[in-house]
Symmetry: C2
Subunit: 522 residues, 2 copies
Amino acid sequence: MKQEKIFGNWINGQLVHSGSQHFSTFNPILDQPISGRFIEATTEEVNYAAESASSVFFEFSKLSGDRRAEFLERIAFEIEALGDDLIQTYCNETGLPEGRARGERGRTLGQLKIFADEARSGSWQKPSIDLPAPDRLPLPKADIRKVMLPLGPVAVFGASNFPLAYSTAGGDTASALAVGCPVIVKSHPMHAGTSFMVASAIVKAAHCTNMPNGVFAHLNSMDHRVGQQLAKHPLIKAIGFTGSEKGGRALFDLASQRKEPIPVFAEMGSVNPVVVFPEKLELQKDQLVQELSDSIMLGTGQFCTSPGLIFGIDGVLWKSFCFHLGNSLAQRATQSMIHPNLKQAYNHLKDERMQYAELTSLCSISEVNGANQVGQTLLQMNGEDFINNPDFQQEVFGPFAIMVSCKDWEELERAISCLKGNLTGTIMATEESISSRPSLVEKLQNKVGRMIFNQVPTGVEVCASMQHGGPYPASTDSRFTAVGHDALLRWVRPVSFQNFPEMMLPTALQTKNSLCLDQRIN
Amino acid sequence: MKQEKIFGNWINGQLVHSGSQHFSTFNPILDQPISGRFIEATTEEVNYAAESASSVFFEFSKLSGDRRAEFLERIAFEIEALGDDLIQTYCNETGLPEGRARGERGRTLGQLKIFADEARSGSWQKPSIDLPAPDRLPLPKADIRKVMLPLGPVAVFGASNFPLAYSTAGGDTASALAVGCPVIVKSHPMHAGTSFMVASAIVKAAHCTNMPNGVFAHLNSMDHRVGQQLAKHPLIKAIGFTGSEKGGRALFDLASQRKEPIPVFAEMGSVNPVVVFPEKLELQKDQLVQELSDSIMLGTGQFCTSPGLIFGIDGVLWKSFCFHLGNSLAQRATQSMIHPNLKQAYNHLKDERMQYAELTSLCSISEVNGANQVGQTLLQMNGEDFINNPDFQQEVFGPFAIMVSCKDWEELERAISCLKGNLTGTIMATEESISSRPSLVEKLQNKVGRMIFNQVPTGVEVCASMQHGGPYPASTDSRFTAVGHDALLRWVRPVSFQNFPEMMLPTALQTKNSLCLDQRIN
């Protein structure tokens, strides 16, 4: 019988596995464990990773943007070189279709290239120069210059729902490496094999581009110990996380209670409210049914931007819309969740929700065709009940949404005012009808990070104007984005230099401006 | 006998004082209480202030930048109109000299004008536009635009050491109002009269420029109750604080433990390390003695940037420098602290420090000429002892510094590596000698917000390139500054608009760009 494969932890350019605890991943379609043992990182190994990262921080952060860009581009190259083996492992560990795996890989490679370009351009350093005024009265003004510098080693936590784009070499890692922060990834245990392959590609890329070994580490862990240790480690200076509100909040609490608190960028729960105007339903009800039904089912609802609350004004048209959306969902084939644990969590929360007398069912599928599939669910309630109970705002991770029928606009706007923070807020309306409700727009934009007009919230464009992050609990810090070019601003802080000699200034601040940056002067 | 004057709380444009607790301020020079009763804000009054602020948030944030600029300029005008009464009250309540009061008023008016200009220009909104690409494959790209929007009502805590520039109408308040955040000030109890006068000027300015009443509130409080209630209040969305590490950390903890955590910008303890190179001493020892002695004594050492740790390489030159700096300090007249409580705290901490066997005295004045004066103190220790005990990094608020004599550069760099976060790091050197120690510069800049070459750390220029804030415990969020134009970035967050009709976009994002902003396009 073949020996089971052992997967260690990548630390300081080497594979180590001194621990005795291990775990395996799971194929949700075949409903069986996948062969292979992932060895949990030990306390000593976590320390070793943090010390290695810290010891190379200056060296790595001092490299030219070109050098870091080469590293990021090489990571993309090495991930691509993993070929179909990576796609196969991804699909085995998640049950997601191959097309999704390929699409997500494409996005991940694209992100690496965007951050390589950012590293090369150096514009994130935002150089600002105040020239001296030695003759100013009553006091002379000194030469003062300001630039962004990296925070230090960063811990990144893999996300269950995006094994590539938000995990090992995803946006958090790519943006942190771009600005010169070494990265320690705690891989997500549900797709530890995919993560290990990507980590190996990063280690190879680091080696090929002559990066210091400590620049990247990859730790296996199924329980909370490794994550907690990273969050509390004095050498770790920031945290990137995508996942549940409970997990993100636990990390935030640990990091805030440190002797030296550190920033936690946790992108967490979101129910992504959608407001549907009667005028829109009059024109495009069938199209809306199709679009929203697609959006709710996308990735079995395991998207952070999945629409979970749909608000409208009660009436014949709204009732018909609710009915047809329920029907449309009911006619779709059920799909698999990424892992049995997520299936159980979904069914548990869904069943709990269906106990509420306030909710009635529009679609509730109980028969599924695979071990880890779940039934899509559409419920309905009235606005007043929604306003009176914040429980209905709790995310049910999976293909689940609630139609909130408001008796009039006053009630609908009150419901919007009661919302907790969300990643997105969508308005389905005509241009004329939205312009008659400026206060609704105002209230909704106060609760979200991204406002959307007549498009579904699923699908997050990776671009400079993207804000992926919103008021709590959508994220722990609404002032930063997890997606798009500005994601790298999470890992830097400004430092001023007063009266400094030209040759001792960071290159971005030198008057000769050899990087040709856009220096803000006076 | 004349009835004692009653000072209420400014809430929603009115003076209220329903509470029964009250306190007075104190003249540290005359060593006696100042007549007048400040009525503590009640729990209901704090709620009323938060509700009033929240209820006008949309209205205030929607005003044009011009309108908010007029408000800020009018505040400056009304403060100036308080004339010498304000200067007199300031001096009575702090014991600081008139020149300082006038200088600080000038800076405060200057800050209000800077933020008025920022409000008018609107550049803080940082509009970013990604144009759509409807033909892109495999998926079309939507029109996505991003802009900065205000967070909501902000609580500002008055600072003991800067009654004007960091308090009621100081940088926190001015920057928050500039971006459209209503402000609730908890005045500092040591100069509640100065604060009340400035608050009255703000209320008058709000009235004259037709601002909504809830835009500003001013609460008296001597105990911690009002501050705690503000930090925990669900309608408060951010906090600005300048003061002790203990006070700032308490607010940070309260705010982090909220159901919805909010950002706290606390600018706290800093000992502002100075590294003196032998090459500099050779050339300009006497000038350095003069400059550092002035800097340590400035404002009786009650500056957040007061130099508290001075590092050098042991030897004849260094010993002579230490001796002369001690002598220079010893020859100066003692000065008054702002309040008897600060005097007591200083004497307590200083005495505690002098118990350490590791420390020897270079200057220790015990005879003072006024009730609330303190003796300037200069101590000396060796580098190894400094490295082994973090207690010596604790701020002693007042005219206090420690000379750290290192046996060589290796020890000095290790000492710098052990530093906690600080606002500033100063290097006194020749250009040649600093350029031979790049690793020292690197280590120091990793610990501070502002690097200074051959100038003293006291004196914070209000300009675009200023970073006033550093790694913890210098501030709770090193990614933001409390001084200078960028201080307003603390109160805003980015929001994206996807596929939005031109007329429903925030003005800064509209294609017609009527504000003539520098829009980042694609």
